[in-house]
Symmetry: none
Subunit: 223 residues, 2 copies
Amino acid sequence: MKVLVADDDADLRDLIAFTLTQSGYLVLKAGDGPSAVRGFEEESPDLVVLDINMPGLSGFQVCEAIRKRSRIPVMMLTVRGEEEDLVRALGLGADDYLTKPFSPRTLLARIKALLRRAGMANATPLTAGRVALDLQEHTVSIGRADPVRLTKLELRLLQMLLANAGHTVSSDRLLVQVWGHRSGGDRQLLKQLVHRLRQKIEADPAAPALLRTAAAGYKLLVE
Amino acid sequence: MKVLVADDDADLRDLIAFTLTQSGYLVLKAGDGPSAVRGFEEESPDLVVLDINMPGLSGFQVCEAIRKRSRIPVMMLTVRGEEEDLVRALGLGADDYLTKPFSPRTLLARIKALLRRAGMANATPLTAGRVALDLQEHTVSIGRADPVRLTKLELRLLQMLLANAGHTVSSDRLLVQVWGHRSGGDRQLLKQLVHRLRQKIEADPAAPALLRTAAAGYKLLVE
DNA sequence: CGGGCAGGTGACAAACAGGTTATAAGCGCG
DNA sequence: CGCGCTTATAACCTGTTTGTCACCTGCCCG
């Protein structure tokens, strides 16, 4: 899930980027209006966070440019008290706004809400280590390699493992999360699914480097 | 909305074309005077952007040729400081000029102003890549081909895909947006609608180049 | 040493999703 | 009322995905 963050304040930009990256988003940064527009055009992010005061083009203008081509969620950042800025931003098609200063937690919550509203995130989007999951496209990219198509179940399994990257997830939990199975029982399904997933994402499926077998379950190795 | 861009500098031409395309215009390119005139005659664009220095025929001569037959807006591009060029261009019937270098957004703003003045402003159709949707006429144009008439549902489907051009839109979302269906369920309708739409807009409906099947949905491919 | 167990593998069948074609139902309109 | 166009329903075909089974290996432990 790509998010473009445009703000001329490098510190704030980095803070936001850090917050989002930790939560599994792929973050692109822009420090002024024109590079924000360029970033949007070249990367087609899934959401844009726009500061209003930016050199080159204001957040308003960038928002306008984006709306000409796309309805992706746009979140504007405004300074407290500038009421007409808000009105104008929302009038231009922005989806939400935050007044500075705000807590990273708030930002995260709002962003998730926006993505949910846009029907994108069925759950938290995820990347960890060299593994990047694209829920929309049903693909996974390992490092720089071409994305690999995943089936519904493979996607769900990988999503679960990714959400707990580095930690073991028990087979029981996986069964429940992937199949909605009542209680244990059908380990064979999981065995098979892991096998199929390894065929797709492991360089050497016989010696798994990513999807490792662990005590009573599996884990995704991230460096 | 067709715009003819004539400039011998391929980079600048592409930059302008890119800017305009992203803003929803259908752009035609010409690299020299004669092909500019030919482009004008064959495609009857709604606006022409003309560089003055071009091989074959200068921008002046092209402008003159155009003015013999049409009053469509012409914007000239000049090098800074050549004042008499401006005078001459405006004398020949050009409507506006820009001195190089200029920012894409300046160009865009001026072009919009020209079209507005010419009374063509409100017709900007939804476009992405080679696909241009006309909501008033219920038609779609692929590249330079003749517009194709669409039914209500076909139009809505294409509009949804266009609004998310390049990204997969899940079948569920499409069902909701196109039919207003409460719950998923009726994939058959979508199957059919996609099939009929492909018959209309794809050169080879059996091997779709635009409306592609993607994981759990469909997507409109744009270059 | 040998049985039991967990995980890995290959083969195969059932279930499913998407494409295609045909046909019926609905609807606007003269 | 019937005509033509649009939309819905159904049946069939295909390739993919998923579930099931049989068998293998390595390992723990009596």
